[in-house]
Symmetry: C2
Subunit: 122 residues, 2 copies
DNA sequence: CCGCTACTCAACCAAACGGTTGACAACGCC
DNA sequence: GGCGTTGTCAACCGTTTGGTTGAGTAGCGG
């Protein structure tokens, strides 16, 4: 897998880690510096810095500069990319399910003579 | 990380792979067997089988039995889990953004005397 | 300018991931 | 009952990931 081929993969991959998800959750409440973000976790600052790089590469956060500090900001737009992907296939799956449901209804309506007797088959 | 600690991590992680996302996309159109799913990809059947295990462990698909075949079915409910997580923090981030926006508006309204003259500072 | 604070870069390591091949289990069919 | 089909399990392998430590950079404050 040479590298992550597309944005969507990077986003999903970034959010697959509970620490990173927690960071995103906290950043939703407001920007924070690297040390502030690192505080609650029992890992080195370098590890947190790496996590932030992953989030940044995924386009989920951006970092600016304030003296020595690097305030981290959540870019919520990328969420749309995921939501769209998810919704698309969920809807498709649901529609299919409903069509199947409707079909079963019709079959039952048409052949309810048989279904009454042998409906438990399969 | 020993193992994936929670469901959400497994789901995001499962969808971080483009092949698995493609499988989900195709399964949204209808159930399929392992070989059917494997056909378009240039990997072994075993690799596809592994991918399906990942999707199954994440609760994204379920597998039944039909003779030698193992039809794979998409379980779209898990999508809700993701959507809820995403929407929660996106909304939070957006609300924060709007509050900030409103605050800036108010500040501008109050001090527009100064901002007219020295607004280009920085 | 020196030192402290805040953070990043580089090298390294163990574990997990995605792929392979080989063996084998489950089932329908002749 | 043996054979082909369909799929899984196991062992192995190279790359990626998430963590570590050590060194270095950037900027403020005395």
């Amino acid at each position: 897998m040479v590298e992550h081929e597309d944005r969507l993969s990077r986003v999903f991959s970034a959010l697959a880690d509970p620490t990173r998800r927690d960071m995103v959750a906290r950043l939703a409440a407001g920007d924070a510096t690297v040390s502030e973000l690192a505080a609650p976790y029992d890992v080195s600052l370098q590890a947190v810095s790496k996590h932030l790089k992953v989030l940044e590469d995924a386009g989920l956060v951006s970092r600016s500069r304030d003296a020595q500090r690097r305030p981290v900001h959540l870019d919520a737009e990328v969420f749309d990319l995921m939501t769209k992907w998810i919704e698309r296939y969920r809807q498709q799956a649901e529609e299919r399910y409903q069509r199947l449901d409707a079909l079963l209804d019709r079959l039952q309506g048409r052949d309810n003579d048989e279904s009454k007797d042998k409906g438990a088959a399969g």
